[in-house]
């Protein structure tokens, strides 16, 4: 942005001089004009020399790796150093990555830091479709009517039967729901009033890696670990190159993870220690460097891990973006990622020997009268979570319930359940009313990265309207504004559409999962479904590879 402004300014200046020269100069040029142009040429010449030298210096700095700490090796201050907010003090001696691209959609309905208990929630579900890389019909090992404890095995995959999926709460198996082609969609558990956890025999602190892996698989915490490329449930046969954890979520209205981990330093550290024993490489934490205050000490004082701070708009908090900047995945690399909730569950298991699937869930979105946090468990029923809360409907439109955020979340009805890794419910008004000349004179509020649609508020109340119809790829500068990665998104998408494996691999399909292109999908002028295109490409590559 900065260099762009500079260039624009320079260009305007040149043009202005040329124009003023036209209007004054008769056929013969006046002396003044000549000297003016000569002076300008001199200035330009010197500027050129200085900036070339300056660039060489920056390149040198980059090559020696000295700029990894975020130091500016240029003579000139960066535009964001001049005009942007100054980096807060806690970042002084830390490695910081400042990402310039991205966009925060300023939505209304951020959760206030108030926790209510979800007493009304009685039903929880484990949903096989939440786990990528499995066969569509897993082997269910319980029957309707069985009573289970939290941590008891519910089902396992037919191919990789070592990976066990367990009950988040203790109770009675109520129902096994099936979807298209008899694939199992939900195994529903009616929770007991008094929760009981299955008891575990923890492995010794110096147990070897194989024993540890066996325990993680058997205990049911394994599915929290995801593997890139493809974002599938981690393969127990694989030793990952590195493990990455993002400790902040920049998605619209996302839960504040510093709030989630309040008072759980021991559990988080215990989880990190376990992860350290799983890889020969490094465990990285991506930390939030955006605020004036440092993030929670649970993250900043974590031990035995590499800490990297990130500044910038969404998707700076996406673990995929962080991996891209720290150390991207090559074609042969296997990288594991976890979210903070997953680390806490693993840590709690090792700390207290029980399966703890409790979650702090943010209830967000403009229709919520009082957006706040609620403490519940993995896979809580959406209708019961929202029961008794005031939901404002607008213009006679229905309200959509989303498990997750508005970019990557999944639409749910009242009878469905929170997805396995989600710690957020977003409510958003449907936008099914046609708008007269809506494309020309947008009167209703809408989010946009385009300067032609000025967004004047931080509390947008947007709807689910598509604001236009699907078209072929036309514009070439929309994705690049929101993708803070060195990846040519549009070309990659086109390569996927024509099944060009070599180009897909070369342009970095292994580095991406759906959430990384979600913002580009939001910004897409042609309304192309980038996330599903990418998933199609990932599936194809997985079948091939």
């Amino acid at each position: 942005m900065g260099s762009m402004l500079k260039n624009k300014g320079l260009y305007a200046l040149l043009l202005l001089i040329a124009i003023s020269a036209q209007s004054q100069a008769a056929p013969g040029m006046s002396n003044l004009l000549f000297y003016g142009l000569a002076a300008l040429a001199m200035v330009l010449f010197f500027f050129l020399i200085v900036s070339v030298a300056d660039n060489l210096m920056v390149i040198e700095g980059r090559q020696s790796g000295a700029d990894r700490t975020g130091a500016n090796f240029s003579l000139f201050p960066k535009a964001n150093e001049l005009f942007g907010k100054k980096a807060p003090g806690y970042l002084d001696d830390e490695p910081v990555y400042s990402l310039k691209k991205g966009h925060d959609i300023p939505l209304e309905g951020k959760a206030t830091k108030k926790i209510s208990t979800a007493d009304g929630v009685t039903r929880y579900a484990v949903q096989p479709p939440n786990f990528l890389g499995l066969r569509p019909i897993p082997k269910v090992t319980v029957e309707v009517g069985d009573s289970v404890k939290a941590g008891d095995v519910i089902f396992h995959d037919k191919n990789m039967d070592r990976i066990k999926f367990v009950a988040p709460v203790s109770g009675e198996v109520l129902e096994v729901r099936r979807g298209a082609k008899r694939a199992i969609t939900e195994v529903i558990i009616l929770a007991d009033k008094d929760q009981q956890s299955r008891s575990y025999e923890l492995p010794a602190a110096d147990a070897d890696r194989a024993t540890l892996v066996d325990f993680l698989l058997e205990s049911g915490v394994w599915p929290f670990i995801r593997q890139r490329p493809y974002n599938v449930v981690a393969d127990p046969e694989v030793t990952p190159r590195d493990i990455f954890i993002s400790t902040f979520d920049t998605a619209p209205l996302a839960a504040d993870l510093s709030y989630t981990v309040e008072g759980r330093m021991d559990a988080f550290q215990a989880g990190l220690d376990v992860l350290n024993r799983l890889t020969d490489g490094l465990v990285y934490l991506g930390l939030d460097g955006r605020g004036d205050e440092a993030p929670s000490p649970v993250f900043t004082e974590a031990k035995g891990v590499q800490k990297r701070y990130f500044r910038g708009a969404h998707p700076a908090g996406n673990v995929g973006v962080q991996i891209h900047h720290i150390h991207p995945a090559g074609p042969k690399d296997k990288i594991w990622t976890l979210n903070v909730d997953g680390v806490l569950t693993i840590g709690e298991l090792f700390l207290s020997g029980r399966y703890d699937a409790s979650r702090l869930v943010a209830l967000t979105g403009a229709p919520m009268a009082e957006p706040h946090y609620v403490r519940t468990h993995v896979g809580a029923n959406v209708g019961e979570l929202l029961k008794g809360l005031v939901i404002n409907k607008k213009d006679g439109e229905a309200v959509r319930y989303i498990s997750g955020n508005v970019l990557t979340g999944q639409e749910k009805n009242e009878d469905q359940f929170l997805n396995f890794r989600d710690n957020q419910v977003t409510l958003i008004t449907e936008g099914s009313e046609p708008e007269i000349f809506g494309w020309l004179l947008p009167l209703k509020q809408r989010a946009s990265i385009s300067p032609t649609i000025p967004v004047l508020t931080d509390h947008l109340e947007v709807t689910t309207n598509t604001h236009g119809e699907k078209r072929a790829f036309v514009v070439t500068n929309d994705y690049e504004q929101v993708m803070p990665m060195d990846i040519y998104t549009q070309q990659l998408m086109k390569a996927i559409l024509v099944n060009d494996f070599e180009t897909m691999e070369g342009l970095g399909i292994y580095e991406l999962v759906e959430e990384d292109v979600a913002l580009a999908e939001f910004a897409c002028v042609s309304k192309q479904p980038l996330q599903s295109i990418l998933r199609k490409g990932l599936d194809t590559m997985r079948e091939q590879g």
Partner: protein, 458 residues
């Protein structure tokens, strides 16, 4: 509003008739942004869509439309020696311009959109907005007296072979508007090049070779009836002789003059002010440089057009121009050929002659036919500026170079992008290797610490 919506919905034809339905759909979505909601993928979408994007280009051209319409009339009357002042006979100039402009505009849109509608119905997709921009650009790059049937044929050629054959909006290789113009340029060259076509309503008498203005009949009589009623000046009989070149009027464009005798020849007929403000003969919309620059900034600031192409183009233009200046002889003698005098013209004068600014702002920035990567856009823009000026100055067959330069670079845009992608693939692989080395250092450091349990030190 919902009453209006219900009213419009009453006319919706059933899906049996494909043509009627896609046509209805095109008009419906013009009037209303449909109440379609997101399904799968992101739940909210950006307010920008292709319609809104395209209409901004059309908006950026509006000042040029107004100016171009007036300028058609102004050039016509100036050539006849009437109303030489800019505002003199303003109503006559405007009406004269409109009478020329409206048929061109209508034919462009009827033919172009007609073909779009037919193809949309045939292929069963909705009508795409691409032609909104092409249709707004084409009238501006035509001479005012272009025969309408030639215009229609050229547009049919451009839309059918240039766009629909490749799959419609977003798939074309070449800029549609320029394809229409280049078709006329090669198929009917006398209607779009030379000194005779840039002033409307002039005819060459075969016996004497003298120029004569057109007779004002038909629609002009109707306006005369109104104007005389209002007491304003009227078109009259017409058919007057044109003033001779000796009186300072010529049909030639500045570029035609510059090729003959350099800047000195140009300034004999046109002042720099005239060329900047655009009261000169030429294609309808290319002449007013201020309005072009305003449109250019509008598109760059709103990010509709990519500023890299524009800036790259200006750099290429200046670079080539300076190169030519350096090659041109310092002192002109009587025997110096016109081409050397042309080469000696400094870049800021080159820039206000001809249609460089128009082309780089509105034609080169077409995102479909331009390079798609940021680096590629710099190269693409720079090469257009470079090649276009070479064609303009060094090729006597073509008076202006941008049309050919842009179509040429359209052809090479995918190649430029290809190399940018290859560079990206290599760069990312290299970066991966560098970071792997950093990782090794960090691992060594980590293994030295016994407080961290790892697979090695358990």
């Amino acid at each position: 509003m919902s009453a209006l919506h219900d009213f419009v919905k009453k006319f919706e034809p059933d899906h049996e008739n494909k043509f009627l339905h896609t046509t209805y759909d095109a008009f419906y979505t013009f009037l209303f942004q449909p109440g379609e909601v997101t399904k799968g993928g992101t739940h909210v979408k950006d307010g920008m869509d292709l319609k809104r994007l395209m209409v901004h280009v059309v908006l950026a051209l509006q000042l040029l439309y107004v100016f171009g319409t007036w300028n058609i009339g102004h050039q016509h009357f100036t050539a006849l020696g009437q109303y030489p002042g800019l505002l003199e006979g303003f109503h006559l100039k405007l009406v004269y311009g409109l009478v020329k402009m409206i048929p061109i505009f209508l034919v462009t849109h009827v033919v172009g959109l007609g073909i779009e509608f037919i193809y949309a119905a045939k292929k069963g997709h909705s009508v795409e907005e691409g032609f909104l921009v092409s249709g707004a650009l084409i009238p501006l790059i035509m001479p005012p007296d272009i025969p309408l049937w030639i215009l229609a044929v050229s547009i049919a050629f451009a839309v059918v072979l240039g766009k629909e054959a490749f799959g419609g909006t977003g798939m074309n290789i070449w800029n549609i508007a320029l394809l229409a113009r280049v078709f006329i340029f090669f198929a009917y060259p006398t209607t779009i090049s030379g000194d005779e076509v840039w002033i409307a309503g002039m005819e060459k008498l075969p016996e004497t070779g003298a120029w004569v203005g057109q007779q004002y009949g038909g629609i002009y009589s109707f306006f005369d009836w109104i104007f005389s009623g209002l007491g304003a000046s009227t078109f009259g009989e017409g058919g007057a002789y044109m003033l001779s070149a000796a009186d300072g009027v010529t049909g030639a464009t500045p570029l035609g003059l510059a090729a003959k005798g350099g800047w000195a020849e140009v300034t004999q007929y046109y002042s720099t002010d005239q060329m900047f403000w655009g009261a000169i003969p030429g294609s309808i919309g290319e002449s007013n440089k201020l309005f072009i620059i305003l449109g250019m900034f509008f598109l760059a600031v709103t990010k509709i057009a990519d500023w890299r192409i524009i800036v790259g183009g200006v750099f290429g233009f200046i670079f080539c121009s300076l190169l030519m200046n350096a090659m041109a002889p310092d002192v002109f003698t009587e025997n110096t050929q016109g081409i050397f005098k042309f080469m000696a013209i400094p870049w800021y004068y080159q820039m206000i002659m001809g249609s460089f600014l128009f082309s780089i702002a509105f034609m080169a920035t077409d995102p479909v036919s331009a390079a798609s990567t940021p680096t590629g856009k710099w190269i693409y823009g720079f090469m257009i500026g470079l090649i276009g000026l070479i064609v303009r100055v060094w090729n006597p067959a073509y008076p202006e170079g941008w049309m050919l330069a842009i179509l040429f670079m359209n052809t090479f845009a995918p190649l430029i992008d290809h190399y940018v992608f290859q560079a990206n693939i290599k760069r990312r692989a290299k970066r991966g290797a560098e970071l792997a080395a950093v990782r090794d250092e960090l691992i060594t450091e980590k293994q030295g610490r016994m407080d961290i349990l790892t697979p090695e030190n358990v």
